[in-house]
Structure formats: C-alpha cells, structure tokens
Symmetry: C2
Subunit: 222 residues, 2 copies
C-alpha cells in the first residue's frame, strides 16, 4: 500500500516511516507543509534504512501532494493541527482512501500529564468531523512512545488500539499496524470509544516519570 | 496488616479478600451495610480458601465496625456510594489509617463503555475530598477484572497503578498490592492523576467486547 505520513518530519511520523520501511514493502510518502523539509526527512529515513541494509523507497512532498499519492493518510501532526491538516488535504482524498488519527491532546501541570478531552470527544473525532463524508477515519497508534518507535534497535512487544466506524477501514489499518514487528492491533470499537484510548498516553508518561527504570512505555492487554 | 474491605460482599471485594487470604498473612475483615451479609461472605471466602488448603481467618462486620478494626480500609463500593461510605465510617478511622479507592465511574451506550469523569476529577478524588484530613487516600486496584481477580485458578501477570498525595501511604498500599501473586504495583503520581487510570477500566471492557478470545483483561506496562 501507499502510506502518506502528514507531519512526517516529526517523531511519530519518523517512527512509523522507519518501522514500515524496515518491516514491510509499503511505499512511504512523507508529507510536510514545507516540501523541502519533507524531502530532507525522506532522505534521512532512507539513509538510516540503507545503513541497516534495507533498500526502502521513501519520498517527500508537501502535505496535499503526499496525500494525493497515498491510499492511507496518517495525520501525524499535533492535535491542534488535525482539523486544518484534514482541510488542507481534503481535495486530494479520493473514495477508498483512509485517514488515520494517532494524535492525543494533553496538558501538563506540577502533578504530571493529563488528558485534554476536546469538545468533539477526542482528537480522533475531530479528524472524523473534518474528513470528507466518503473518507473513513481510523484512530490508531495513539499510545506509542515516539522515541522508542523511531529506535529500530528497540523491540516493541506492545499493543495499539484501533477504532473506526467503518469496519473495512479498521481492518485495513489493523493489518498495516501488524505489519510492524512486535505491534499487535486490538479492536476497541467505534470512534466514540477513542477518548479512553487517547487518555492512556498521558498515563504512560506519568508512570514512566514515577518509576525508576521505566521509560518510553507501551501498553499490553492480557 | 488488618485490611477492611467495605462493600466486601461484591465481586471486587471478594477478589481482593480471596487473593490476600490466599497469598498473604494479612487479616481480612469484610464490611457491609448489613452485618449478616458481611458474616456470610466472610464464611464463604474462608470456606473457599479452606478447600484450597489455606487456613485464613476472615471476619465480617457492619462497615463502620469493619473500618474500626483495620489499618487499611478499601472502599470496594460502587462509585456513587464512595462519599457516603467514607462519611459513614469516618468516626472509625484513626490517624495512621489509610483509605483505598478502587472504584471507577462508567456509562454505557451502543458504542461501548465510557469513562464518566466526576466533577471532582475522579472517584479517587471524591474519596480524598470526603476523607478526614488526617487519613490519606490511595487510588489503586482500578483496572482489575473482578471475575478474574476472584478466580484463584486465573493467573494475573498484570499491573495496578497506584496514586496518592501521601508517599508513605502509597508505599504501604503498593506493598499490599504486590503481596498478591502476579500483581505489580506501579506509581502513577498523585491523586490528580487518577482520572486517566480510572479511564482504563471502560477501555478494557471495550477491548474485550471487540476481540474474540480476550476477556477479563488486565493491563501491563512495558
């Protein structure tokens, strides 16, 4: 499949690009508002994979052009840029394309990190509200520590929870998730169930902050 | 230690009573609003442990009397009874006692289960607000599937997250948690961080509902 990572110059985009580049044959397209930055990041990721003996083809384009070239479009942008990023690429999406939302909103105070629940219910719901009617939105990859994901020397052995109101799109994204070694995709229902998933992200940070020896945590359901 | 399980006739109380009775030497006191029900439950738990060759002494009393006899008092009641249960036993609590809050508020609709965040921020915060000033409140045991906990044939191998503003009380309850075989206690910070923990409970139910072969799920941080 062709996967675009919008905001793919950031850490979560880097991690997904490297993992898919390393573990699968999917075509990876890095998107950014600045096409030059997208191309630089794509070259960097290709080089890192080449150093590991993997010949992956990763290209870089401005976000809308990246979305135009892909079947699955991951919104790897901060939560406050999800809606405007969807708007910016909407004309590049065709029926059959899938949007993926991995972002979560957090606030920080002296106690730790807290989930900032948007009025829409979740960031995934913001993406769903902004998406064209014919393009399903799948929430996934919310609870992956970006640094660990981008470190190919780090084993995963963790789960990602997937939500969508379109079962076919959910199955496609679950399959893409499981193409990453050590990542298990679990179905958590519809988009209405996304806020509890997004809430896990600040929790993981709080647990890592308060326990010696634990960092870049993921979660596993047993 | 002497541990009172208020509302200990319910499933989470049963599970904690059986696990501590089986895995530790702590004295277990079952509390209920109805002392006769408390005694019956205590006898049942003793019998089940005796059938497994464990000679545990479990007694039953009305909630306030149960709290009076214990060092650590677990509020194993529904979330909407947490504040009135604390009020009902407040005069029985002495300095040095610890209250433990395992309850979480949920709502259910056609999509699944959702966290119902109380105005106080969390059920743990409700307990902390209701508790006498000299009695610390520790949030723990929120994300344990009650049926699995009460089934001594089921291995755990899962985590429980512990929050408190009193570090000494948090350490005591973490130690009690780890007296249960297969349960690891992780520090998640202060009471202000409880809502993200409580949110995991509806998520576990949603994941179990949507994935064949997964049920009575717990969570593990890796």
């Amino acid at each position: 499949m062709r996967i675009a990572l919008l905001g793919g110059t950031g850490e979560i985009g880097e991690g997904l690009a490297l993992r898919w580049g390393h573990d699968s044959d999917h075509d990876i397209v890095i998107g950014s508002r600045d096409p030059e930055k997208a191309r630089e990041a794509a070259d960097d990721y290709e080089s890192e994979l080449a150093d590991r003996g993997v010949d992956a083809k990763i290209t870089g384009f401005e976000n809308a052009m990246a979305a135009d070239r892909a079947d699955v479009v991951v919104l790897a942008v901060p939560p406050y840029h999800v809606a405007d990023t969807v708007d910016a690429v909407a004309d590049s999406l065709a029926e059959g394309d899938i949007l993926v939302s991995p972002a979560t909103g957090m606030q920080h105070d002296e106690d730790g990190f807290h989930y900032h629940r948007p009025d829409a219910g979740s960031v995934t719901a913001i993406a769903a509200d902004a998406a064209p009617d014919e393009v399903p939105v799948v929430g996934a990859f919310h609870n992956l520590a970006a640094g660990r994901l981008a470190d190919l020397d780090s084993d995963l052995g963790i789960d990602t929870l997937v939500v969508a109101d379109d079962e076919s799109a959910k199955a496609t994204v679950s399959s893409l998730a499981e193409d990453i070694n050590g990542l298990r995709a679990l179905d958590a229902g519809g988009v209405a169930n996304a806020s509890e998933i997004e809430s896990v992200t600040p929790l993981l940070i709080n647990v890592a902050m308060n326990n010696d020896g634990l960092h870049d945590l993921g979660v596993r359901f047993d």
